[in-house]
């Protein structure tokens, strides 16, 4: 495979070159030779890490591994298998009742929902990054570069991430392909590890990416000497010191003498009001404010300010030391978000466990999505220190070995469990599911061979189950589904996308509709057997239906969809992509009759 697509020799521009050469000539006293910089263009060599994707783990269809290498689709537009597609789009998933509320204090500049890390062959000083987007572009919100070379044998030390470009999520008017090439910042170290962060919330359908091109120069560009680095006030480059400077110069304050309380109006405001004002600050601001005066230091260190803590926006700089300095503020912590943090050695078991020991007793929600530093020992610490834990998210922790999940069974109060793309095994799931109320379970797993067993166990033990995600659970059959719907009658959200072994001819979908009157979300993506009778049964039995995805079936007609739309007034999302009987004429007719419904019809041009 060739990752260099061209080597361009580019001589420096005349005026600057002349200035340099004349200087050199003066210095060396010799005839000067114009130096030449070589620009190197590379496609991604390997996809190292990502938060989610649409396809199956061992597949090359709609999976993140398609982002490496040369483009397969560009400049064509369309919904093709050879592109990289993330798991979700729009706000449909946030609208679900089972979605967790957003964390407070999320900084305004942080919009990222998903990420992907790419390694290139040669480290260069980047001059341009181009992303070839082939469907519904506009999702990229941040591009970062890392100082660590992922191909080096030595373990990562002093890993630095620089933001090359940051922007708002956009919505491009047409779903056509485009080459996205933002103006990137020049950085002071060579890099061959890029990270793209995306936010698809404004898009009408899944965004699809085909390739990423990194342009750069091998030698450090002379421009750096002439151009002042842009100092970004919002840059978090010194947040580490802020998070660590808890003590500061105020320790000397309490010396018994009469202290001047010169805090102005702050002395007149009630304690609770100052607390309320501070609750609107972002975490770095809160830490900076703690250094300003004694009164505000006391306020900013008050554990009541730290009932919710999201460290995800600061994933690039979070370390054991940071956690250590926040420990003293954590005893009332209820919701903790450590998603995306700690990779490449930034967090270790020591830092993690000491922090959890400080905040564990009160902890109710723990988000650990894409935390690759987690080991079995870490999960053991979680189970020991967080007895009251109700929500646990281990999405994409695909390096945890199956034994690690046995500790989950000790968490007796679990209501929400996300195991998307993890290696949990059947036996562990069985023991970890005890009777819960409102147990929401995301079970898109890698290693489970027999989902019928899981389904029947859920039916037996989790009778109040509200939301279940069985996306791509390949071996689920109508027997398991029948048991599930008979046992879990409170189900409101059920994702059965890409479960090919479910056959409508067994009546399983009609049985489902009749048994789940509270159903609000049903995904039957790529189940080619869904037919008119199933839609009609949904129309008569599930009046609360809001989201329905029946992508790829040939057996559903416009007439039954009309009945469904008439009977389900709350329906807002209906995906009929690749349904051969539902052509553009039918889509337009239905859109006209039911303007509140987002009818999705994807295409391959």
């Amino acid at each position: 495979m060739f990752y260099y697509i061209c080597l361009r020799r580019r001589s420096r521009s005349g005026t600057r070159g002349e200035a340099l050469t004349s200087r050199r000539a003066v210095e060396s006293g010799q005839r000067a030779v114009l130096p030449v910089s070589v620009e190197v263009e590379q496609y991604a060599k390997e996809v190292l890490d990502f938060s989610s994707h649409y396809g199956s783990e061992n597949s090359m269809s709609y999976t993140m591994w398609n982002l490496a290498g040369v483009p397969n689709v560009y400049p064509s537009s369309g919904d093709f298998t050879q592109t990289a597609v993330f798991r979700a789009y729009g706000t449909w998933w946030e609208q679900c009742a089972s979605a967790p509320p957003p964390f407070r204090r999320t900084p305004k500049g942080f919009h990222s929902q998903d990420y992907i890390e790419l390694a290139f062959e040669e480290p260069v000083y980047p001059t341009a990054v181009e992303v070839l987007e082939t469907y519904y572009p506009g999702a990229i919100v941040q591009i970062l570069a890392c100082s660590h070379n992922p191909f080096s044998q030595s373990p990562p030390t002093d890993v630095r991430w620089e933001v090359l470009w940051s922007g708002e999520p956009t919505k491009v008017l047409t779903p056509q392909a485009r080459q996205f090439s933002p103006n990137i910042k020049h950085i002071s170290f060579p890099t061959n590890l890029l990270r793209l962060e995306v936010n698809s919330s404004l898009l009408d359908y899944y965004t699809e990416l085909d390739a990423v091109i990194l342009r750069g120069v091998k030698e450090r560009p002379m421009l750096a000497l002439y151009k002042m680095p842009v100092i970004d006030i919002n840059d978090l480059s010194d947040s580490e010191e802020e998070l660590s400077d808890v003590g500061g110069p105020f320790r000397q304050g309490s010396d018994g003498k009469h202290q001047r309380t010169g805090n102005g109006y702050f002395d007149k405001l009630p304690y609770e009001l100052i607390q309320l004002i501070l609750s609107h600050l972002t975490l770095p601001d809160l830490c900076r404010l703690a250094q300003s005066c004694k009164l505000l230091h006391q306020h900013c260190c008050d554990p009541l300010q730290y009932t919710q803590l999201s460290l995800q926006p600061y994933w690039a700089r979070l370390s054991d030391a940071s956690l250590g300095h926040l420990q003293s503020r954590a005893p009332l912590l209820q919701r903790l978000n450590l998603s995306w943090t700690g990779n490449r050695g930034a967090l270790t078991l020591t830092g993690f466990s000491s922090f959890l020991k400080a905040c564990g007793p009160s902890l109710v929600c723990l988000e650990l999505s894409c935390c690759h530093f987690l080991t079995e020992a870490c999960l053991e610490v979680v189970s020991q220190t967080c007895p009251g834990l109700q929500e646990l998210n281990l999405s994409s922790c695909d390096r945890l070995n199956p034994q690690a999940f046995t500790h989950i069974s000790k968490l007796a109060r679990l209501r929400r469990l996300v195991l998307y793309r993890t290696k949990i095994e059947v036996g562990t799931v069985n023991t970890s599911c005890i009777e819960h109320r409102n147990f929401n379970c995301y079970l898109s797993l890698l290693k489970i061979e027999d989902y019928d067993v899981v389904a029947s166990m859920l039916a037996a033990r989790c009778r109040s189950l509200c939301s279940l995600d069985l996306w791509r659970c390949r071996n689920l059959t109508d027997r398991g589904l029948a048991e599930l719907v008979s046992g879990c009658k409170m189900l409101e959200e059920l994702d059965l996308g890409w479960c090919p072994t479910l056959q409508s001819s067994t009546g399983c979908f009609q049985h489902l509709a009749r048994n789940l009157p509270r159903l609000r979300k049903l995904f039957l993506t790529a189940n080619r057997t869904v037919r008119d009778s199933d839609i009609e049964e949904l129309a008569s039995s599930c009046p609360s239906l809001q989201h329905l995805d029946i992508l790829g079936t040939r057996l559903v007609s416009g007439a039954s969809l009309k009945k469904l739309l008439q009977s389900c007034p709350k329906l807002v999302l209906l995906d009929v992509s690749f349904c051969s009987q539902i052509d553009m004429r039918v889509v337009q007719e239905l859109s006209g009759l039911f303007p509140n419904v987002a009818l999705k019809k994807s295409f391959t041009q």
Binding site: G55, S59, S61, N72, Q503, L551, R554, S577, F578
Partner: protein, 297 residues
């Protein structure tokens, strides 16, 4: 002081070592393709490596050269399904698998299995069926690994003789083994063989070996001796001569297919089974002609 025996042993070892120098060069396949769709006479041409309902691919990877042919089953046309979609997508998927290195050279059946699985991962509801034949040359080990499902196949010709060939897989007359994706209402009524049912083989090749991979449109119309006659005209290993020979084989088969009096292998087989027929068999013809040569980047 060496004894006579040990000295003799040393000499023997040196001589034998010199004689059995194994060839450490990497091999490659220089391949040309040619074909005619059944509707060629009506002027209907398909894009790319598709000839009528047949499809083929040629792919290179660092470790191996891979070829494949697939014969789309025409009967789907009666049900409103374009038979070339399945065979074409199957071959394109195999090509992509090879280019991305998601295969093991010694396991060509794995290429078929993975490719078939990938077809099911497509959002687009594909329907149809086809035969498939995959030929992999492992550059370093000089072995030809093959997988064949159905009545397409390959020949390996050395010194003017067929030294290795594939076997046809038929359920019954004119019904070869086939990979298929059926519409849900027809499942059970449609023949669908698993990719694991493919025949596989491994064979040591030498420089200069000729490998002919083709769909049944060729083998049903041209007996071995005619094919070998054409192959004798192949003088050197450059691409142009291979292309010319492939073309002449395909053209000849195409002409014979429409000859009503010619006793084609297909007609012969039918007669052997009690059906009194004569003439060629109009069908899509796909020919991939390769020569084993030294690997040059």
């Amino acid at each position: 002081m060496l004894s006579v025996l040990s000295y003799g042993r040393l000499v023997a070892r040196a001589v034998i070592g010199g004689l059995s120098q194994t060839d450490s060069r990497d091999y490659s396949l220089v391949t040309a393709s040619c074909g005619f769709g059944k509707d060629f006479r009506k002027g209907i041409l398909k894009k790319g490596m598709c000839y009528g309902d047949d499809a083929c691919f040629i792919a290179r990877h660092r470790s191996a050269d891979v070829l494949g042919v697939a014969d789309g089953v025409g009967g789907w046309r009666d049900y409103g399904v374009d038979p070339s979609q399945f065979s074409g997508t199957l071959m394109k998927t195999c090509e992509r698998l090879v280019k991305e290195g998601r295969f093991v050279p010694s396991n060509p059946v794995g290429v078929l299995t993975t490719s078939y699985y990938e077809l099911l991962q497509n959002k687009v509801p594909l329907l149809g069926s086809s035969t498939a034949c995959i030929v992999v040359l492992d550059r370093q080990s000089h072995q030809l690994h093959t997988a064949n499902l159905g009545d397409s196949g390959f020949l390996v010709v050395r010194g003017g003789e067929v030294v290795h060939r594939s076997d046809e897989q038929q359920h019954y007359f004119n019904t070869p083994f086939q990979l298929s994706i059926a519409p849900p209402e027809a499942e059970g009524a449609v023949l669908s063989d698993s990719p694991d049912a493919a025949d596989s083989s491994s064979f040591d090749v030498q420089l200069g070996d000729i490998i002919l991979t083709a769909t049944d449109g060729l083998f049903d119309n041209m007996p071995d001796y005619m094919i070998l006659q054409e192959l004798k005209k192949l003088k050197n290993t450059n691409y142009e001569s291979i292309q010319q020979t492939a073309r002449s084989i395909a053209e000849q088969a195409h002409v014979l297919a429409y000859d009503p009096n010619y006793m084609s292998p297909f007609a012969q087989f039918a007669c052997d089974n009690g059906l009194n027929v004569r003439g060629g068999k109009p069908d899509d013809i796909t020919v991939l002609l390769s020569i084993v040569a030294e690997y040059t980047d």
